[in-house]
Point group: D2
Chain length 281, copies 4
């Protein structure tokens, strides 16, 4: 027995689900979970189906059969073998809470990926990497962005990385880098976007006197803090809190939101259309 996830997007029309599920059933697949949504205002249909197959399943046969369905409906589609786990690199700087969260949840079996490498612009977190037996590389930002991003790119290629998670990595990636890794880099911002973009969001929040703080995980793109949002959460704060307390309280939200975003991404729940995401659960 093995399991696959099929992801489909196309213009909305009659009979899509029937055609897709008939094709899966014809391939002797058993659907374990199916989610679908039509974004009415843009007439876009999205579908995600998890299905199991017997050992005699031939992927290429299924893909050939499904291509015909896809052609008829003008679908964009992807098929994921759940046994092939994405290889995710973690970028970090000095603070450890997001890094620990990902490594601990991974250890507990909650993240369907590998973490082959951790890259940082500081040495502080090398010990954490060692504890979890993950290779650690420190890049030298002193040599200029073009040069050290080339170093990062080399490491990512060496370790055959598919996806990058910025676990409070405190450097801005270049437009060249984010374009090359479009919709494959997940960042965590310590503010409730679109409020409090840019630097020191907790300071901004405290001075504005907001009663709730939050964090936002999003795909990094060439516009700082403006990529498609994947996950967000908030907590109520008291006006008797200092900014330092905001920072502490915010850490719990950040790690939770970043973990949730990566999990949704790995479980293939994230669809992107028209500059925003649609999460199908």
């Amino acid at each position: 027995m093995s399991e696959y996830t099929l992801s489909v997007t196309c213009a909305d029309q009659k009979g899509i689900i029937a055609a897709v599920t008939h094709c899966i059933a014809s391939g002797e697949g058993n659907i374990l979970n199916l989610s679908q949504h039509t974004a009415v205002d843009v007439n876009v249909f999205m579908l995600k189906a998890d299905f199991s197959v017997a050992d005699d399943f031939v992927r290429s046969d299924f893909e050939k059969a499904f291509s015909e369905v896809a052609g008829k409906f003008k679908m964009e589609w992807k098929l994921f073998d759940k046994a092939l786990r994405p290889r995710v690199a973690i970028l970090a700087s000095k603070t450890s809470h997001c890094l620990y969260e990902l490594l601990l949840k991974h250890e507990d079996g909650e993240l369907a990926c590998e973490f082959p490498v951790i890259i940082s612009n500081h040495s502080d977190l090398a010990g954490v990497a060692t504890q979890f037996h993950v290779p650690f590389f420190q890049v030298d930002t002193g040599k200029g962005k073009v040069a050290y991003e080339a170093d990062i790119q080399t490491i990512l290629e060496d370790y055959q990385v598919d996806t990058v998670v910025m676990a409070r990595y405190m450097q801005i990636l270049s437009p060249e880098f984010t374009r090359r890794w479009a919709y494959q880099v997940i960042n965590i911002h310590h503010g409730f976007l679109p409020a409090f973009m840019g630097a020191k969001p907790y300071h901004q929040a405290w001075h504005r006197g907001v009663k709730i703080i939050g964090a936002t995980a999003h795909f990094a793109n060439e516009n700082l803090d403006q990529g498609p949002i994947i996950s967000q959460d908030t907590i109520r704060v008291s006006d008797t809190c200092s900014i330092e307390r905001f920072v502490q309280l915010g850490k719990d939200v950040e790690r939770r939101v970043l973990f949730e975003a990566l999990k949704l991404f790995l479980d293939r729940n994230v669809f992107v259309y028209g500059g925003r995401t649609f999460i199908l659960r």
Copy 2:
């Protein structure tokens, strides 16, 4: 154009979704939303599909066609025409917050039902009924449970009621009544079940020193406060709150939870199996 909801339950097996959606597509239906879940431990498959059809759709033809599919898979199934809105009676006593919530949400178009009648064991809420132009009946509990429940039953029949909502109705329904209206009576309990069953749950909660209070909407059955749970919510409370403050804070939770339960029920999201519910969203 009209819309239908199809609700299906059966033992899990291969090809159910394909068969169901093929049948809908064959009837020229366009699936707007499909939710499905398999409760693995009991091997029960549940599916809910909303679909739209053109004006030449013939319900009896579809039902005949679907019966064959259903027979093959040994399904239990129901088809709901969304234009036929359930007729829901509200039972209330003296407090108005749940009653107002239902009537106001209904006025705002959030509840797909009619409220043909309000029944109470007190006269206090007659004015609210008048404001919203709903017939109001006061039943006399002094005549004994058998007699006044017979009065209620007569009113429900006169007004062709399908479903009953207890909006803080402070009388216990007889086993005869709840059996007759099995899975058609929704009650709100002002405690986070299964904690704090029975009377005065806020008093129980305060004395136990809990830090969170809640409310629970459930189907009424012959075991007090033990019917299948439909919806729950909680809020954090401070130890500096009095019991009276617990009661006030709890009202917001109660009205929210009761409304949510009724909405889930009317939208056909509630499946019952093995003494518990499964909510498919």
Copy 3:
């Protein structure tokens, strides 16, 4: 027995609480609740004390005694007799959810004020006012802002109003009006400020793809949606929600937040300093 609330602000220094509470004790007051906070970054001390006194308490004697303490510490202070309930006018337009919330909570004894008058630029809510026996006035915005705000001002004076609540009143108040009523006008914005200022915040939120929506109650000032925030709350939303569903879900947050803000204000929990509020609970 009667109850008073004393509200104090001054530069932080040693012995303030001792001096204040000694003065209350000397006046035979019994402190029921005391909250205090020092905003360290601006060195501002704030204190709120609720105390009860016997029937022979003479307010002017206490005020004279406290003036000496206040002079020594350079305090700004106010003394509120809880028996004198503020007179709050409600401004509304067409939607009823915030108006109902205030009237229902008031009926339940949760708001320590009077609602002597409801003013609207439409006639839609006249019936609600009648139900709750509150005088209702419709102002004519067609005659220009200066003229109809003069009408509002006249009504507020006729009804001896202290405070104004904008319960989804869909007109922008003039700077003259908000300055005249500085820190006495509470507005509800249907967005999580400072994100989504201005018109149609739910539309903005949906298109941005946020996963959480919120509402913000704040003092109205001459800068639209930028007055000091009093209360905020948020709820998680699904990407499968339409904008219309955002609007429905948001209503629950709006009414909750507006109610909370008015309650905090009436209970004298709201301190304003440096363009932001500090809520002492």
Copy 4:
């Protein structure tokens, strides 16, 4: 400059706060934060004051002066020097999430204590202890409860432990042990008490069909899962979750609640009266 916390409980009466704060001011203390509450139904007054003093502060002088005040009002009171950090032992078994949470938050400076020793009935977590440089002891439960609890007691004494935290320690402590350490042992239960006492609370919750799961931190006493509750939290769950998913989701709640309970305890916010706690913030 050093800081102290004064904790006071007595029958409610006039002038307590004035007397306490006057005494602190007389000792040249500057109150940084004061919280107080009167549990009206039992007429118990509770007060917590944080204050700073200059280097010439003599603790014994203050205690002598305060004893007179305390005698007059029949107070129970404690004075804590914030520089003397409690020594907290952690008991754990096999699962690491609560242990990591405490160690990481401690590393981040959020817990005002020392962790001098970790004790377990298994060897699994020895590596975590090593990573954080905390001595680790494995006790042998095979020798019987009396014997291995004596071993634990010896370790606690050797390391001069004040307080014990059970971080998912899966053994029931004897009544002798909990009585000896009354109100000094904090446990985390993976259910929303008082619902789901005893073993396998997530299994109980799933089968009951609840829509919300939670966790509860409480003082351990001789009645299993019935000690005074310190902290609780909940999360909404979907009916499409398996029990295994409940367990995963619950871990986040457990670690958050246990951390909060320990923090409240260390910050001297926890008062116990009449078998329940009162948290003064």
